[in-house]
Assembly symmetry: D2
Homo-oligomer: 449 residues x 4
């Protein structure tokens, strides 16, 4: 394979890194019953069992098959069952039907994982070619992506159950006693001829390169994410019922689907305190937290909110979604400390937290831009497209990203379900405009003229 082996992972030895990430997947699945692992609640989501099989299939197909002497497949049928979308590999089981595959059962899939792990370990005891290491690192990064999907897919499945079961018991929220609401400030970003895209030296996906020049006008980004409380104001002002805020396709969507709030939100029931909304989360049904970032938004909702917000106060005139170039230009200089302090999957919160919740964030305004990493992915105004001069990875791996570059929009940052070691400022996530089951929120931007 021709994926450039430009880096060594953060962990000192590749095998240790591999084992750590594989164990994290097992830990995420631990609270789930076999039934939880089996069901596919919508075509966009996959069963946990499938995630377990597919991530092993990736190592088997892209690492073992080309590098293991005398390679033999673990099970011939798995090549088809656990192929996600690689036409270059051959046939694949239809995505919406993944939940119908009850055999192999969970124990067999776990045995498949164990066999792959053993063969990978044996392989790494031999000579480690650059191409082997490059694909192994790709497989590790790939597994981290599926760790996040596993959580969002489980949340969706449990949300379909009227008993509203929780994935995890609600932990004590790690909020600082002294942290009050953080006012939102506009933080200026310099325009001009800048560079974005991955600068090399460590692993990145092909869609982050090549690094290239863009011209930006002067702009500002909001100092923090939009909160659940601010979203209640939008709802209270009739935001979902006023076509002025909505793209035409968004307005059609709102009406066709009877959208009245972010995904998983539930309005106050008769007899409840006025305004007491709840939302379904990995902790089950919880009360809306006014200071925490709003999450589970579609692109349409994020975009409509910005247009509404621009009319609410003079200070926010011109509010809009940022472009991904604006976001990256502002985030890249802050990458190190911001990642270190972010609310990633490792905090165990598994939900977005109010700005200032992290221990070293307690001084309001100490950071020019808070919550850049962790908490929620931030919708941008940028359609997901190839950077100028983009080349997909060679061979079948070229299907990884390039063929999805249409009719989707870029999200930047990362979320409370993202592994910390997986992320960087040039990272590009992408989803269709209607997608809401990810940890997706927004940060506002505006022109500075």
């Amino acid at each position: 394979m021709g994926i450039p082996a430009t880096s060594i992972p953060a962990c000192s030895a590749m095998l240790e890194c591999y084992r750590t990430v594989r164990q994290q997947t097992a830990d995420l699945v631990a609270p789930l019953s076999e039934a939880d692992c089996q069901v596919q609640s919508m075509p966009d989501a996959s069963p946990a069992k499938w995630h377990l099989g597919h991530t092993s299939w990736f190592f088997e197909t892209f690492v073992l098959e080309p590098h293991e002497p005398g390679f033999k497949p673990c099970h011939p049928a798995f090549r088809v069952l656990f192929n996600s979308y690689y036409n270059g590999i051959g046939q694949k089981h239809p995505r919406p039907l993944r939940g119908q595959i009850t055999r192999p059962d969970l124990a067999e899939v776990k045995a498949y994982r164990a066999q792959v792990d053993e063969r990978i370990a044996r392989l790494l005891r031999g000579p480690q070619s650059p191409s082997l290491l490059a694909m192994l690192e790709t497989g590790i990064q790939h597994e981290q992506q599926h760790q996040e999907l596993l959580l969002t897919d489980i949340q969706h499945l449990l949300s379909c159950n009227p008993l509203r079961p929780a994935y995890q018991a609600a932990p004590v929220p790690p909020r600082l006693a002294t942290a009050g609401p953080r006012p939102m400030r506009w933080q200026a970003g310099a325009g001009g001829l800048l560079e974005i895209g991955h600068a090399g030296g460590r692993f990145c996906f092909d869609n982050e390169s090549p690094r290239h020049r863009v011209w930006l006008r002067p702009y500002a980004l909001a100092s923090r994410l939009v909160t659940q409380g601010e979203w209640l104001d939008f709802i209270g002002d009739g935001g979902y019922a006023d076509p002025r805020w909505w793209l035409a396709a968004g307005w059609d969507w709102v009406n066709a689907q009877s959208i009245r709030a972010p995904l998983y939100w539930q309005p106050p029931e008769p007899g409840e305190r006025v305004g007491q909304w709840h939302r379904f989360s990995l902790q089950g049904q919880v009360a809306i937290d006014r200071e925490a970032p709003v999450v589970h938004l579609s692109y349409f909702e994020a975009d409509a909110y910005a247009r509404w917000r621009a009319t609410v106060s003079a200070a926010d005139a011109g509010a809009r979604l940022p472009t991904e170039a604006e976001w990256e230009a502002a985030a890249a200089p802050l990458e190190g400390p911001a990642v270190a302090r972010g609310n990633f999957v490792e905090t165990g919160a598994l939900r977005p937290l109010p700005a200032g919740s992290a221990p070293d964030q307690e001084t309001p305004g100490a950071q020019p831009l808070e919550q850049l990493f962790g908490d929620v992915w931030e919708w941008t105004a940028s359609s997901y497209s190839a950077y100028p001069g983009f080349r997909p990875w060679p061979g079948v791996a070229g299907e990884y990203n390039g063929k999805f570059m249409v009719n989707q929009y870029v999200l930047r940052g990362s979320s409370c379900a993202t592994p910390r070691s997986h992320i960087r400022a040039s990272y590009r996530n992408f989803f269709p405009t209607e997608a809401r089951w990810q940890f997706s929120g927004l940060r506002l931007a505006r022109d500075l003229d």
Copy 2:
């Protein structure tokens, strides 16, 4: 409840009967993994776990709740989760979404069954009112119906898996060495003013009563079921491609769904012997058995076959589906021996067998009408409607049958998945014209003029 307690079940004591049937359900589920029990492969089918819960819910709701002193529900949410279609009971979880309920898991549902069993046993140690016994028997009969559905639903689920897993290992077929193909004979049935419907004295469903008069013209029934080999002739003659044989709605269905054979049939693959079809069964993928009854037909296919067959030989001119009155008038006199010898779920074959397969059927023609019970349900030309003077059971139990009397057609007999003690000549099964996942086949009829 007002369901008439006209009978005592065949087993000497009601509790023993209850336990036997409940154990049969457990036995049917034994070969299934937790994953197998969880998934719903189409809206018409239900997860095995749901069948387990719903049949217990039926006893809890219709037996325990009205009869148990100080009744308390096992779990409040189960009243909704396991309600199939009784509006009189209250809300119900939407049928197509049954497979999304991963909690309670299988162990919890089994515990629910155990609790209901224990409370039923305790209740039966007290005074046994007629209404209690009547509803208990209804619950037992109800559970037997779900035993058959459980098997047909599992077969459908496993058919969705490209690995084609078997529910049971294929047993040695219980065919007699000397039994050759049975020629089909026309057996005359007397016409005139007859009575059909249940005559009383034992349990029956409300839809089998009242017994009433019908006028029949002279007619004949085929001595045995239509076979898989005869169906291959229909396919070979282009039967699925010729609109002459099809009802207009059937022709639309054949073309819209690209129907080319019975459900689960697969044509010969390139390189296979000419004409070597296979079909998916509870034993996995098996070769077509030319002498065994064709199964998994829609009403449209059964009807089309009869119309085609009428043109093939002069002897079969006028071939058509029987009416349910014709079928019952012919079957009732033969009920005792025919049921005793039928290929029911108890034979363990779990697939239809050639005529003459049962030990005491070896003399061809010894029985005027073979395979009347067991093997496959027989589509009739009769729309499912109320008998003259029909009254649904009183109260909520009235929803059991009456509200489905539209846009369905009656099937008579029973199948290789039916418990022997469940069946009688007046029994009316019913499904929509497109349904094929049941063990449904056909027997021909014609006028005698």
Copy 3:
């Protein structure tokens, strides 16, 4: 063709009869613009232009082609464009796409009609074989059926226009000054072994034969149709919101389609008099007429009403839909006078009228069963199926009725859009359970025990 030439039409000479019926079609289309004639408002309906073309195609294909020496088609493409559903004739333009055919335009289709008329007239100047006369009469009867469809299809099209245009100016209703509301009486019908079906001697469709015996229990029919006022009571009592009255499939339909009233009904707008419903009719938007028969009902609504009505007063206990045999047994003896006085298309009312509206109906109770013919078709409980011994017409004409004998229900009587000369007591109309755009209503029945 082998359709039995059992009769001569009522008009003294066949050509005169032909011309009269063809002119009636032209008269019905006269109020329509070219645009009105072009559009198909739903797949079940056809454009008026298509009706004009298809009825001529029927004469061309079934009369001219087999009988005209040296026959040449008027236009080769019309064989496909105007074929409704005759697979034996060959290909057909898909039904839901009939409205897309803008060429031939209306003038060309009228020229096509004129050419067919001229060639029919020339043909009839030659020898008139029985088979020619039989098919000509069939074509005339067929054209009368399309006259009714033309009116119901136009009403549906105009109902889609928010301007609510009328097909005809509302005429002065021909109601008698002295006619008050007619109380509904139960009129007994004798049971026993009876005969129904066409007795021969005049034209009938194949589905009305053979005449055959049926056994009926004693029963009673309502003396008149259910009225719009009675339907308002059903609505007022929450009839559309109570599952107790509805078949399961009907309850699904009511909820999926948000059905709250008969087709074309509109509830009072804010500020209107309480209870002042309107309905869209061929006369545009009109007020509900409490004494006139309710119309534009589905089978599900008619059936639900009967079940509700059975609970409202002791006198109506056991109310249900009649079977078609009950209806025909009661109607056949009254056929002559009832047809003579019915509100058919010839009255020009083009809407159902209150019982007693016809001049010689003014004495309440003078007729045992009023409104048997004309006004509205009456849903029966009978599934549309073959009579015992039924044989479709030979050849392609056999597709006329037989292939539709599934998943539909029989309506008896006739309507305010039916030509008087078209109807008889043995006539069987049929539609699926959801169909509402026909002039469909109901008359109640019950057992007499």
Copy 4:
């Protein structure tokens, strides 16, 4: 209204310009029957009658209503019936149901046009404020857009008719006797920091502004459009069956819709000359013209072709769709002569013509980039989004373009159905990726590194 009145149209007096454009609309409709004008063949298309009404509604609503003293609407219902998508105006008749409105009929809509024309003329005899002139010009430009849609919508409607009627008789193609096939050359475009967007001084739509800087890498554009002959090579090479060339969403679309060729193309029938494809056009069924530009492509097809082409010859390595900035940077300097010579609606060809067909184009290579304007719209790789600093027109007119800036892609140039006076280099057309019924084709681009 606040649309900037930056220009005076090309015609010397505004009224004359208005009348000319309005007459062009009438001329385009002249060949159509009333039936042709009535029907809507798919939700994306509108009836010709609706185009006639809507364009008049635009003048009535945006010009007469705010400027005419004592304004009264022509017909109150037209405000709803002919409102396309302006929520700020109020309710609108649902787009997919436009074809159901048979009244007003065509004559009434023409009378509506005449009344609007008369009132506009009267208004222009009074004082002409800048805002009046600006909205009048907008209305004129708007009507020109609908002229093109009217043609593409009619072509779609006629394509649904199996008789394949022509909109116009096929004219003698205006091809030069001496013009042979034009080889495709790569024409370099300079990169660097450039400006695109409308420079002011004449009318433009809001989506073309503001003019702004972009950074471009060096690139090249193909000297002419991709031809029908080149497309046959793509088909012949199995292009539609090979997932390597397709975006994932495109591959799904190709398979779900069974796409095998551009819209309206029909493969050779049995017995026809090998490779003799035809396509349906405004001239009816015509043979494929190998030298003429391919037309009626989706974005997916255009994109797939480029990816395939990049593998066919070394000279075309890296072939891709151009960005809209690349296109505009190359086209703007050539705008004057290229527009003057383009194959616009005024040539009467109404189909794309081979490069070099225009009289002053006969010297191959005389123009660096041929067919930039006219012939077919050119898909670009650019998602349709707001230019940096974009502001929609104020008020309701702001709904004109801005709210559609999502999930669509930009097409540049213009087509054989575009009025010449309507176009300019900064013009941005846009459609969803699946749209094919427009005159859409492609020109290749590639990087120069």
